[in-house]
Symmetry: D2
Subunit: 167 residues, 4 copies
């Protein structure tokens, strides 16, 4: 693999999210809602930028590619039982969707956990729309969207107080 791989996987990841009905602006809106109470001058553009930076991370891309692949293959009838039924029914005892999301939330530290749980429980904005779709398997998608928004929010909180470290 050459050094151009990371940006390519990011593009594929963003395309895959779009194909599943989620654009980055939808996620940036969640971030703005979560953070505007703390940072009165926070702009939508900054929220979108923060979502983009989260999607630069290799572990985030891998978590998204893996989760959405499981959603898609289940939808196509290629996953065996009992996993197929667990994923089709978004079984609330499954737990692996939360585990995968945790690896996204944690890229900017554990301070993202609270916002992740809050979004996953209340399902505002795009997250609620995802859950309402019939005939689709979106067991991983809704948690992944909540996790990206929570990580992007954590990044904003860190940067509000940090000096740049270039790493």
């Amino acid at each position: 693999m050459d050094k151009s791989q990371t940006p390519d996987n990011r593009t594929i990841t963003i395309d895959l999210l779009a194909q599943r009905g989620v654009c980055l602006e939808d996620i940036a809106h969640l971030v703005l809602e979560l953070q505007k109470g703390y940072y009165s001058d926070l702009t939508f553009a900054e929220c979108l930028e923060s979502v983009m930076r989260v999607l630069d991370k290799r572990e985030v891309q891998n978590a998204i590619l893996t989760g959405l692949t499981l959603d898609i293959l289940t939808e196509r009838g290629l996953v065996d039982e009992p996993l197929a039924s667990i994923l089709r029914n978004d079984d609330n005892l499954y737990g692996i969707d939360e585990i995968l999301s945790l690896s996204i939330v944690n890229v900017y530290g554990s301070i993202g956990l609270t916002n992740f749980g809050y979004l996953d429980k209340l399902k505002p904005g795009i997250i609620g729309s995802i859950n309402g779709k019939n005939n689709r398997v979106n067991t991983f998608l809704d948690d992944i969207v909540a996790a990206i928004a929570a990580a992007a929010s954590a990044r904003i909180a860190h940067r509000a107080r940090a000096v740049p470290t270039g790493d």
Copy 2:
């Protein structure tokens, strides 16, 4: 150490929570609020029982003993800077309170994450009262209470569908 240690540490843990202003009934109320929408016949006694079972777990006891010790020693002025200021101000970028809470939430699997984040964000019931107290350091206490309630809720969800395994 002999085999009678575990119940003793549980008693010490419960006493320490009480000394910091939290009784098990307060936590059981949070559990009932979280779960009554899913299990219409759930009783307060079952929620209290579930909180007790969470507190039987050694890792839960250790997380509580460790977090509350840090709160108490900071209150007594025995913790050096810069940690003392971080803990006194309940700095939202600290992150270690969430990490410690995660080890409590996870005793019944990752399905507890959502409820933990929700409680930690909205701070209902006893959690809000904890945060309102002046002159006290409760940086760990509020997250710990949310984590115990989330774990007790996860235990109820698992048991609603499980056969007993005796382990």
Copy 3:
């Protein structure tokens, strides 16, 4: 779903491990190697029993079903790029195999982390045999086996000092 589901999924999980070349005795051998230095009277039967109890847990079953499904579907050519190549090459920067394994390790608390890392690095016994197989995709399998052995070891360590709690 009725109450008989959990044991069924356990059977399916054990069958799936066998189909991928791993029997429970292989894992029990790893547990005995890890623990015999600490508990001189530990028997192979107790190690096998501990492996079985780990496999009783719903979150463990779900992690195994999910990881092995990804290995199998990749082998069958049903996974799209770039994930297919990442999984075929067992890319050491993938990270999701470790994340999934963590949810197995953690069922008996974080004390299993050390043994998991040790097994995953040195790849003794069955774990090394898995990695040596050509034409197969076992990116998740080796980590899952290490995680089951680490969790079963943690369970033995806890029980050596605990009184039964019936939960």
Copy 4:
């Protein structure tokens, strides 16, 4: 708090490690041992640089400050029972030292888990020296050192394949 805080806390963290008998060069040696088999041209200076970058992260600093504070306060007799005995004896069922270390390991993703477990089990170099000291409480220190080395190794692995992202 102003924007100059982060570098200051890094200095305090490095001083605290030195005061407990660990210099950054000791940790860099562990990193070089772990990684030289994979990157034949890796230098000691690059390993030391990677350790420094890990220590730039706020969550890493907070985990170190918190863990070493618990070691020090226990040594000074300021921690109550039963936690004092658990920490003095480095009880292998405690688990909170591993949890805190996990928040360090995870700053460069879950790929650091394997190296963390390996170091924590075999205790090479400085980690073994820490464990051999009598009259000192170093329950957190040895895990923290293993975690910093594992995170610095993960950073090297990521950078060997990444394009710079400036974040």
